[in-house]
């Protein structure tokens, strides 16, 4: 429906310009010295149509040839007339049309302008984008024409901004004023650059004032975009920290196991994702886009099984000796890292985003939200919900809470505490695997993947308060947002240091974290 409408309009548009590409124009554009050719091209542009586009494309592809005085387009072993499109007899000798760099630039920008009339929305949008950077008055008639026929409101809006940008360089003072007012509503970084450049050149005081005002408005909008962007990346980092710390909140917070191998369990999840990707590439290339859905349970199971193995063989003997657990799990982490190095090599492996995860939503001129980040935020919320449900509503959760609060009494009530320990540790490890699966979509997958996150994960759990899921959520989001805002202010490394120092100081003030467990123990 939409397309037919566009087609009709395009047809109308071509019909109203009965005078389209002429033989004189073709010759003027193809032959002569560069100045004359550029001028001819500029002259032909306002009346350009599909044929002009095809001709310019051929010119750009070096398919336009000369045979004596005739200009023709060579297509394979055929020769076509650029004006009529009819086939011509192939001449004996063909001369190349030489385009120097200046001519090429002009041709490319003219082609971009012509793409404004493409029937494909995406092509038109791209053309508008390209024009934004080199809009000047010579392209104004074309822009006006495109504006008149444009149906897509989004593209229309952008196009009117481009028009304003082109007008900004106009010789007419009134037009410049109008353009400045129009541009004030924009929120794009390149509009700011444009206005800044104009502000430097402008001599008329009122125009200068108008441009300055527009600039301030654009800047404030940009600043908002930046702030919201920092907020979003903060939430995004927070969601990753949450995923990383959730598993630890169970193994450390609820069970009291200092699992330094938590990062390596995440690494196992990430490598499980990599393996699933490989399997899909090899056996199910058609369904490759959906490998991630299969990778989620596989990553969970791989890490959970590794967790069971660790719990049954090592950690079981170390309950109640947290410092020893710390050393033993550190040893486990070293061995797991070396194991992965032996199996997959020391280099990072490539994990691709499925196509539905690339791209993003453009919210403001300088603020776009990538899909993979959005999906990870959603995924973190989903995992959080599942864990909260599991701990709060299921029988296993009840047992875990019971064992956490009072192991001997839970045991007296008939709870198999050793089995509950194994299940809880497997759950925590499995969540680490899910975190690894998510991390494989935003970062590098290598043997050192876990090392980069382990300090952060412990910080989140300790800050949030041990034994608290809610505390973990607040701590993860708080640290994520704090980190990103500081990053915009002092740079990434100093922000990280500042956050660590903040946590160290915070722990001094509130050793039990944001949410303290209430109890009467003297050994708090």
């Amino acid at each position: 429906m939409h397309i037919t409408k566009l087609l009709t309009i395009a047809a109308l548009f071509i019909a109203t310009n009965a005078h389209s590409l002429t033989a004189q124009e073709v010759k003027a554009i193809a032959v002569g010295d560069t100045d004359a050719r550029v001028e001819a091209l500029a002259k032909a542009m306002p009346t350009a149509d599909d044929k002009t586009g095809a001709f310019l494309q051929a010119l750009s592809d070096d398919a336009v040839k000369l045979s004596g005085d005739t200009v023709l387009i060579r297509q394979g072993d055929k020769a076509l007339d650029p004006v009529t499109g009819a086939e011509l007899p192939m001449p004996e000798t063909l001369d190349d049309v030489i385009n120097n760099n200046r001519m090429r630039g002009e041709i490319d920008s003219a082609l971009a302008a012509l793409k404004l009339f493409s029937k494909d929305d995406a092509v038109r949008r791209a053309a508008v984008k390209q024009l934004q950077s080199d809009a000047d008055e010579s392209k104004l008639p074309l822009i006006e024409k495109a504006l008149a026929t444009e149906q897509n409101t989004l593209i229309k809006e952008e196009l009117s901004l481009v028009r304003a940008a082109a007008l900004l360089g106009s010789a007419d003072k009134g037009k410049r004023m109008g353009a400045a007012q129009l541009l004030a509503s924009s929120g794009q970084a390149n509009v700011k650059t444009m206005l800044l450049a104009r502000l430097d050149q402008e001599t008329e005081p009122d125009v200068k004032a108008a441009v300055g005002k527009a600039l301030r408005e654009v800047e404030s909008r940009l600043a908002w975009g930046d702030r919201l962007g920092a907020m979003f990346s903060g939430v995004s980092l927070g969601s990753i920290l949450l995923l990383v710390a959730l598993g630890l909140a169970i193994t450390y917070g609820l069970m009291g196991v200092i699992n330094m191998a938590h990062g390596e369990l995440m690494m196992i999840g990430a490598y499980a994702t990599y393996v699933v990707q490989g399997v899909f590439q090899k056996y199910l290339p058609g369904a490759f886009d959906w490998y991630l859905l299969a990778a989620v349970p596989v990553a969970f199971m791989a890490s959970a099984l590794m967790g069971v193995l660790l719990e049954r063989t090592v950690l079981r003997f170390l309950y109640g000796r947290p410092l020893e657990t710390l050393l033993a799990t550190w040893g486990i982490s070293l061995m797991l890292m070396q194991l992965v190095r032996t199996v997959f090599g020391a280099q990072n492996v490539g994990v691709e985003n499925p196509s539905w995860m690339s791209g993003g939503v453009q919210v403001m001129g300088n603020l776009s939200l990538p899909y993979n980040r959005l999906i990870i935020i959603g995924f973190a919320l989903f995992v959080l919900g599942a864990v909260a449900w599991m701990i709060g509503k299921t029988r296993l959760g009840l047992f875990v809470r019971g064992v956490t609060q009072n192991r001997p009494i839970a045991s007296c009530m008939g709870v198999n505490t050793a089995r509950i320990d194994t299940y809880a540790f497997a759950l925590g490890s499995g969540i680490a695997g899910l975190a690894g699966c998510a991390l494989s979509q935003v970062g590098n997958v290598g043997p050192d993947l876990g090392q980069g996150y382990i300090v952060d994960a412990f910080m989140v759990v300790v800050l949030g308060g041990v034994g608290q899921l809610a505390g973990t959520v607040y701590a993860a989001l708080g640290l994520g947002i704090l980190n990103k805002f500081l990053e915009g202010w002092v740079g990434a490394v100093l922000a990280k240091i500042a956050v660590l120092v903040f946590i160290i100081i915070f722990i001094q003030k509130r050793p039990q974290g944001i949410f303290a467990m209430k109890g009467r123990s003297a050994e708090a």
Binding site: A328, R341, V455, I504, I507, Q508
Partner: protein, 392 residues
């Protein structure tokens, strides 16, 4: 250090117990007869035998100690000092620090700054400033380099800088009664944060390249065999000296309180002691020992960079103490020799297996050898003794 200890005994809490009627266990001698003999043998080996074997025995001889061997042993003795420091704080006071690598590196950096200044104008850029500053286009030394020209100030700062940082950090941590795993984790955060800071060029510590290319120490060329031997002997004497000091410390009343804090801190508090001063003193002292070890280490290996502050290095110090046997003083020293020796052999002979070995060591020691190698030896001796007793 001295002022800290005396500060302690003047605390009223410490004096309260002396007046009680309880009989304290008899104070054992500093070292047993066999202990003194071993100590003297070790001293002679370090000060006389090793230099003779290295410098005067010809290279082809079986008894010749190679330069590589001197370097390796010197390095391991620095590690042993760290392990000893770790033992005081972990084995005897029950506080596991995962940040001792920071104090080691700080001592190393103070020494490194002095060594950088000793290069003088012999650097690549022939400038009075260290090469990396010329590279960064700095015109003068930053403020924290102002004392680095003086050897005496450097010797003072080697203990003062780690000591001060440990004191401030420990004061706040112990005052708010952070202990156990919490303390371990925030010390790890501390060394991690410091590592990130030292990696930056603008901090003025040479960024990720750190300091290297040293030429001389106190005006004497650093890369000569005699200088290497001098550093080796100094490290050995320092290690033995620290050993005696630690021994004296743990058998004093102060040491007994430390062990009581380790075993039941709440009871110590209920008995009228304030553990803050005890913990803080041993923590600061331990950090200073690590600083000295770092300062001895840097001229021997010829480089210091922020990698020394990575959390992994600090955990490795803990494993030396654990492998040898916590709460015994000879254990951690042995542990440092065993683990580092195995490392220098395995990383060359079987590079892929080193991490497996280290990981297995961590797990095995915590599961099967809670008292380390020394505990194992003791157990074997005891079972032999009982067997012999049964036969008789």
């Amino acid at each position: 250090m001295n002022s800290l200890v005396s500060n302690h005994s003047s605390q009223p809490a410490g004096a309260a117990v002396d007046t009680s009627a309880l009989q304290l266990p008899a104070v054992c001698p500093l070292l047993s007869r066999a202990g003194w003999v071993t100590f003297l043998v070790a001293l002679i080996v370090v000060c006389a035998v090793a230099p003779v074997l290295n410098l005067w025995v010809p290279e082809g001889s079986v008894f010749h100690l190679s330069d590589y061997g001197v370097g390796l042993l010197g390095r391991i003795m620095c590690y042993a000092i760290c392990a000893l420091a770790m033992d005081l704080i972990w084995g005897f006071t029950g506080i596991l620090s995962l940040g001792h690598g920071l104090f080691f590196a700080l001592g190393g950096y103070v020494m490194g700054m002095y060594l950088m200044r000793q290069i003088g104008t012999d650097g690549n850029y022939k400038s009075n400033l260290p090469d990396f500053m010329v590279f960064l286009d700095w015109k003068e030394l930053p403020w924290h380099w102002s004392l680095s020209h003086s050897f005496a100030a450097t010797l003072f700062l080697i203990v003062a800088v780690p000591g001060l940082i440990a004191f401030v950090f420990g004061y706040f941590a112990f005052r708010s009664r952070i202990k156990g795993v919490y303390f371990s984790i925030i010390t790890q955060a501390m060394t991690f944060a410091a590592m990130l800071l030292f990696f930056r060029n603008e901090t003025g510590f040479g960024g990720n390249n750190g300091f290297t290319d040293f030429k001389r120490i106190a005006g004497i060329a650093i890369a000569t065999p005699s200088m290497r031997m001098t550093l080796f002997v100094m490290t050995g004497i320092t290690l033995l000296g620290f050993f005696l000091m630690a021994r004296w410390l743990v058998r004093s009343k102060f040491g007994r309180v430390l062990q009581a804090v380790r075993d039941a801190e709440t009871r110590v508090m209920f008995s009228g002691y304030n553990p803050l001063g005890y913990k803080l003193t041993i923590w600061t002292l331990s950090a200073m020992m690590c600083g000295v070890a770092g300062a001895l280490y840097v001229p021997q290996v010829g480089i210091i960079n922020p990698g020394e502050m990575s959390p992994a290095n600090s955990i490795e110090i803990a494993i030396w103490a654990a492998v040898g046997g916590r709460a015994t003083l000879i254990g951690p020293v042995l542990g440092a020799f065993i683990v580092s020796g195995a490392k220098s052999w395995l990383t060359v002979a079987y590079p892929e297996f080193w991490l497996y070995f280290l990981g297995a060591l961590f797990i095995g020691v915590t599961l099967y050898l809670p008292d380390g190698v020394v505990g194992l030896v003791k157990r074997v001796w005891r079972s032999k003794a009982t067997k012999a007793g049964d036969k008789a």
